[in-house]
């Protein structure tokens, strides 16, 4: 018997377990998946939890439900990967593998910024990229009486790069519905040159910030959080005041990657952009947020990548050349508030443009334009995630590679 070992039972790891179990001969291949945590979170829901749009129960389930029969599921801490010896040390046992799939994801690292995880953490300085942060923020918002709310992200790359924008749009809606929008000053602070950074999106969407009366501070490279004065301070000594700071800290790959000496400066694993094979070890493959590929760190990207990676693992087993197929395809709904959303569909090379999706010329979803239908799509996605995506069931009409059909490309 040979062994495939998957590290991490998040979105990517769970999908890979489902894809591979149905394709590999049970008499030849053992599949093992390791994750120390019992709960599988629907991370896109962390955007809605603070605004009382989703409840706690809607964003978490027991992870075991999604691991297929015939896959060995181990709930233990991963101590270290030894890629040269084809083994992985867990807290109290060592596993050998023939093929390793690293799906250890990424997470926030507030400790990377001075003062961020300080005395006011989860008091008036919040993240919403963890279940705990998102829930604490919900409780804070329920009693928030108004003032300066700053939504900020520290540096790229972050998981779901559009989430901070969505957050500030939803905040505008939330306070409007509560009849207190006039009591809240909303500011969006970004290290980049604008709230939008791609030409087509900038042209199509810049009006949103003005319409919603959201101030934008650009090129803000945060140096520290000043907890005594409730200010964020950048390296140029610019200061932005807040009463409530919602920040996205630096995102980093898991510490196990660092302990194993397999990552870059941010603990992301150097990975071939198109095959998803690790650059350093030919029997190690990497998927999802754990890679250093220049695609968005998003569930849809992991979904498309999992289809290519499944094929490539089968090719690798047969000793055939891998397909250089993965194109960085991402497909993301972006909430803009007032029950509307945008949809974007793009890849490594193609920036988001206007058009129709998934049926070219028909839709029903519109690309890069606000619509109520897109918002329904975003809400429906939660069902798709739990019932189709994690189980590796293909989503009808949505192909792994981005299509140019139905897109307005000059």
């Amino acid at each position: 018997m040979k062994n495939i070992l998957i590290l991490g039972a998040g979105t990517s790891g769970t999908m890979m377990a489902n894809h591979l179990r149905s394709k590999l001969n049970k008499n030849q291949w053992n599949i093992t998946i390791v994750d120390q945590f019992k709960t599988h979170y629907y991370q896109p829901g962390f955007l809605f939890l603070p605004f009382d749009i989703y409840t706690e129960d809607q964003v978490k389930k027991v992870g075991k439900k999604f691991i297929p029969k015939g896959v060995n599921y181990i709930q233990k801490r991963i101590e270290q990967i030894f890629p040269k010896e084809n083994k992985v040390q867990l807290e109290d046992e060592t596993l050998n593998y023939d093929i390793l799939i690293v799906a250890t994801g990424c997470k926030i690292a507030p400790q990377e910024t001075e003062g961020m995880k300080g005395k006011n953490w989860h008091k008036n300085v919040f993240d919403f990229y963890t279940y705990e942060g998102s829930l604490a923020l919900r409780n804070k918002l329920r009693e928030f009486k108004g003032g300066k709310m700053v939504v900020h992200f520290t540096e790229m790359p972050i998981k779901c790069p559009v989430a901070p924008l969505e957050f500030v749009f939803l905040a505008d809606s939330y306070f409007t519905k509560k009849g207190m929008r006039d009591k809240v000053e909303l500011t969006y602070v970004t290290p980049l040159g604008g709230a939008f950074t791609k030409p087509k999106a900038t042209a199509a969407l810049s009006h949103l910030m003005k319409e919603k009366n959201i101030k934008v501070v650009t090129d803000f490279e945060i140096e520290r959080v000043d907890n005594d004065n409730n200010q964020i301070v950048d390296y140029g000594e610019r200061r932005v005041d807040y009463d409530l700071l919602v920040t996205v800290p630096t995102n980093m790959g898991d510490e196990v990657i660092e302990r194993s000496g397999m990552g870059d400066d941010l603990n992301f694993v150097p990975t071939h952009h198109n095959t998803l094979q690790s650059l350093d070890n030919e029997n190690v493959f990497v998927i999802g947020d754990a890679t250093n590929v220049p695609a968005s760190k998003a569930g849809s990207v992991a979904h498309f990548a999992s289809e290519t990676l499944t094929d490539n693992i089968l090719l690798y087993i047969d000793g055939k050349p891998l397909k250089e197929e993965f194109d960085g395809h991402a497909n993301c709904f972006i909430e803009t508030g007032n029950n509307k959303a945008l949809l974007i569909d793009f890849n490594y090379k193609q920036e988001p443009v206007e058009g129709t999706f998934p049926i070219p010329g028909i839709g029903p979803l519109k690309l890069l334009k606000e619509s109520v239908f897109n918002h329904w799509g975003k809400l429906a996605f939660r069902w798709i995630y739990w019932n189709m995506l994690l189980k590796g069931i293909p989503i009808p009409m949505v192909s792994r590679n981005m299509t140019k059909k139905g897109k307005k490309i000059n």
């Binding site: 540096e155 790229m156 790069p161 980049l192 650009t218 490279e221 400066d265």
Partner: protein, 102 residues
């Protein structure tokens, strides 16, 4: 859009970045810097070289990365490229502007 910098015909993006790094040379970089009001010095070029190396290696650029680079400290980085140091230095280096997905 097309432009002529240091006597070379180049293609620029809508916000004035080089579309194709192969069109970059030191003279083109000097011209791009001038448009930002910067006179290039040896110190500037050291930073530009480091940025180009990072981009070639596929590493994401951030001010945090600059801090760890050992090439320059942040205060000096701001002094050399005042305003938005990363935004301006990438332009001079002929590499893509740091961006998000939209």
């Amino acid at each position: 859009m097309e432009a002529v910098l240091a006597g070379i015909k180049v293609i620029l993006t809508e916000d004035g970045y080089l579309s194709d790094f192969s069109q970059w040379n030191k003279e083109v970089g000097t011209e791009l810097a001038k448009e930002e009001g910067i006179e290039m010095t040896d110190r500037h070029w050291e930073v530009i070289n480091w940025i180009q190396e990072q981009v070639k290696a596929g590493n994401p650029l951030s001010v945090r990365g600059i801090k760890k680079s050992g090439v320059i400290d942040i205060k000096e980085f701001y002094a050399l490229f005042p305003g938005g140091p990363l935004k301006i230095s990438t332009k001079v280096a002929g590499v893509p502007k740091p961006k998000s997905c939209i």
